[in-house]
Symmetry: C2
Subunit: 402 residues, 2 copies
C-alpha cells in the first residue's frame, strides 16, 4: 500500500514533535507500506520569514518572497530525514526542484499543473521514506512558486493523485470532521465518513479543517482523504465520493462568523445594474458570497450581499467611490451577522431539510436575514449573538448528537 | 564590463550590512556594468543550522546536511534582491538549481564541474543585477551539494570563469593582501599586486585571505581576482599571472601557528618505511606538511614531519596503533612550534633569499628546527614564542616596509 501523509507546521515545530511525526511514519513503513510524507515549514517560521523580508523591504516582490518562503519547508524535510535516520530508517528529503512540482507562473498563489513521479518512485523502490516539501513548486521559468493558503494539503493530495496512492492522510490538531464545532455545540460528534461535496461546503463555510483546493483536487482525482489527529491514534474521518447508505439526512452544522452584510439601496431597476456593481467589486479582488436582489418597484431595486469579515469596509469604499456610475440612493453595512449552515449529501433526495431548519429557528425566535442554498446545503444569515443558540438547536433537531 | 562580486557571511549579517552591499553593487551597475553577486549565508546562520541539525541527529548524513545548509545562502540572496528592489534597481536571486551549478557527487565537499550561464546571461541582458547563492551546487542525482571551506570564493571565481567576467572581486574584512599579518608586524604594507602562485603559497601558509581552491581555479582560467574590503572603498590587491617587473624580491612574510611536529625515531633504514608511515596517516585523513628524513645510520633512521595543529594527537595515535607494523623505537610530539615563510615570485631567479633569511634568524639567535622550500617560498619551523620576533626581523631585512 502507498500512503501519503501530510503534517502541518505545528506538528514539526520542535525536536519532540519532529520525532513524534517520524515515529508515526515509521510505524506505517514497518507494516511494509510505501510512505511519502509532505511537510509544511516549522511552527512560526513562515511568519518569521515574512517579518525578516519586511524588515528589508516593506513591499517585497512575490517572486523573491517565494524564494525566501521555500527555505522553510526545505528546513523541515531535511530535519525530518535526519530524525528518521536517527531512528534507523532510511529516508530522503526532496524539494520542489528535485521532485519537479510544476505549477502555473503566478508567485504566491500558483496552482499545481503536473508532478513528476520518477524520482519519488525510484526512492520508494529502494525502500526509503520520501519526505517532500509542501506548499512549494517551480514554474516554467524554473523559479520557485508557492501555492497560497492550505498549499501543503494541496501538495499532499496532488502527490497522492500522481502516485495513485491508496490514501492521503491529512494530520491536523483535531481528530476528524465533526457534526459541528465542538467549542460551540457541546454534543457535536466526530463523523466516520463524509463526501467530498459535503467537505467542500463545510470548508467554504468555515468549518475549515481542509482547504477547498485540496478537497476539489481529491474529488477530481478520486483520492481517498483521511483527516486525523497528529496527537492521537484515533481513526479520523474519511472523505470520499460515496458514503454508506443508511446515513443521516444532514452531516453537520457549520457556523461562519467572518461575514458582513452590505445593502445597496435604490438602484435603477434596469439591465446592467448588478453587473456594474459586482464588476467593480471583482476588480478590487473582493469575494462576494450570498447575494439577494429585491423585486423591482417604482423603477428601483435593492441588492444585498455578504463578504468576508475583513473585506466589508473595503467593499463599502469601492461602492462609494463608484457612486455616480452605480447610481444608488444609499449603502449600508451590517457587521454583527453570521452564517449558519446545514450540510448533507442526503438532502439532495429529501426536500424537507430547509423547512425543518427554518422551523427550528422560528421556534427559537431567531430572525433570518438572508437565505442561500445549494444541492447539499442550506445557509442562513442571522444575528451573530444568536449563532450558538441556533447551531445547537439545529444540531439537536437533526439528531446529530445521537 | 562584467564584474563578479563575492561577499561573505559577515557582510550580509544584518539589514544595514545587506543595504551596504546592495549599494556597492548598484554603484557598479550604474556605471553601466553587468553585475553578478555571490553571497554566503548570513552571519552565524550556517553555525545555527549545524546546531539545529545536531539537536535532531548528532550524526546527520552529509546529504541531508547539504539540503539544510543550502537554505542559508538562499535566504541571503532573496533578501539581497529585496534590498536592491527597495533601492529601485531590478535584481533577481538564483540558487544552484536555477543557475545549474553542476558539481561532483560528494556531499559536504563537492567540486564544481560545470556552470550553465544561459539563465544568468538572460537576466543580465534584461539589465538586472543577478544574485547567486555561493557555496552550493547540484550533483548528477539532482541533490544539493556544498563546496566545503571557502566554497563561496570558489563559486565566484567559477562564475567569473564561466561568464568570462572582466574581474572577480572578493570582498573581505581586510582591505587586501599584506606583506605580513599587521597584527604581528606593525610595519606591514598592503600589496597592490600579487601573482597567483604567491597567493597560493600565502594561503597555504595561513595568511589565508583567499581559499586555495579559488586561487587555483582563478589561475587555471586566468580570472583576474581582486581582494578588497567590504567596509572601505580602497582599491585592494589584484591577484593575477604576472606583476610589474621592478618588484620586490619577496612579497610577504607568513606566519602559521597551527602546526605541530612529530618525530618518529629509530625506524628501519630500508625501502617501504616511509610509505608505510605516510600511508597509515593518509588512511586516517591526516594531512602531512613539511617532511624531513634523517640520513640512515646503523640500519636506523628518523622521520620528522608537521601536521595541522588540531591533528597532532590523532597522528600520534595512528602511529602508536601501528607500532608493530611500522617498527620504530619511539615517537615524539612537539606542539610549541610554528611556520614562518617568505614568499616571492622574484626569488625564482634570485637564489640568495634562503641564505638571507637564515642569516637574519641567526642574528636574532632563533633556532631553525626544519626547513622546506618551493620555487617561490622558503619556510622554516621555529619555536612559537619566537614567531613575532622572527616575522618582524625578516620583514625588515627584505625591506618590505619601505
Amino acid at each position: 500500500m502507498l500512503v501519503v501523509k501530510k503534517f502541518g507546521g505545528t506538528s514539526v515545530a520542535n525536536k519532540e514533535r519532529i520525532y513524534n511525526v517520524a515515529r508515526r511514519c515509521i510505524e506505517e513503513y514497518q507494516k511494509g507500506n510505501d510512505v511519502v510524507v509532505v511537510l509544511s515549514a516549522m511552527g512560526k517560521m513562515t511568519d518569521e520569514l515574512i517579518e525578516l523580508a519586511k524588515s528589508v523591504n516593506p513591499n517585497p516582490s512575490k517572486r523573491e518572497m517565494d524564494m525566501l518562503f521555500t527555505t522553510g519547508e526545505q528546513t523541515s524535510v531535511a530535519l525530518m530525514a535526519m530524525a528518521m535516520a536517527a531512528l534507523g530508517v532510511p529516508a530522503i528529503s526532496l524539494n520542489a526542484f528535485q521532485v519537479a512540482m510544476h505549477t502555473t507562473s503566478n508567485y504566491g498563489n500558483a496552482r499545481l499543473k503536473r508532478i513528476d513521479t520518477e524520482r519519488i518512485r525510484h526512492e520508494l523502490e529502494s525502500r526509503k521514506i520520501v519526505i517532500v516539501t509542501g506548499f512549494q513548486g517551480i514554474n516554467k521559468y524554473d523559479d520557485y512558486t508557492t501555492l497560497g493558503r492550505g498549499g501543503s494539503d494541496t501538495t499532499a493530495v496532488a502527490l497522492a493523485a500522481a502516485l495513485r496512492a491508496d490514501k492521503c492522510e491529512i494530520y491536523t490538531d483535531v481528530d476528524g470532521v465533526y457534526t459541528a464545532d465542538p467549542r460551540i455545540v457541546k454534543t457535536a460528534k466526530k463523523l466516520d465518513e463524509i463526501t467530498y461535496d459535503e467537505m467542500l461546503d463545510l470548508a467554504t463555510l468555515g468549518a475549515g479543517v481542509l482547504h477547498n483546493r485540496s478537497v476539489e483536487m481529491a474529488k477530481k482525482y478520486g483520492v481517498q482523504l483521511v483527516v486525523r489527529s497528529s496527537l492521537t491514534s484515533e481513526e479520523g474521518t474519511v472523505v470520499k465520493e460515496d458514503v454508506k447508505v443508511e446515513r443521516m439526512l444532514v452531516s453537520g452544522v457549520a457556523v461562519d462568523k467572518s461575514a458582513e452584510r452590505i445593502s445597496v439601496v435604490g438602484l435603477a431597476d434596469k439591465p446592467g445594474t448588478a453587473f456594474r456593481l459586482f464588476d467593480a467589486l471583482a476588480k478590487a479582488n473582493i469575494n462576494v458570497d450570498m447575494i439577494l436582489q429585491s423585486v423591482g418597484r417604482d423603477n428601483s431595486k435593492d441588492i444585498t450581499f455578504t463578504v468576508d469579515g475583513n473585506c466589508g469596509e473595503e467593499a463599502l469604499k469601492v461602492i462609494e467611490d463608484n457612486k455616480t456610475r452605480l447610481n444608488y440612493q444609499h449603502v449600508e453595512i451590517e457587521k454583527n451577522v453570521c452564517k449558519v449552515s446545514v450540510v448533507g449529501a442526503g438532502m439532495m433526495s429529501n426536500p424537507g431539510v430547509a423547512a425543518k431548519m427554518f422551523e427550528c429557528l422560528y421556534n427559537e425566535h431567531i430572525n433570518i436575514k438572508m437565505i442561500s442554498t445549494s444541492e447539499i446545503r442550506v445557509t442562513v444569515l442571522i444575528d451573530v449573538n444568536e449563532a450558538e443558540r441556533a447551531a445547537n438547536a439545529i444540531h439537536d433537531i437533526f439528531g446529530l448528537a445521537e
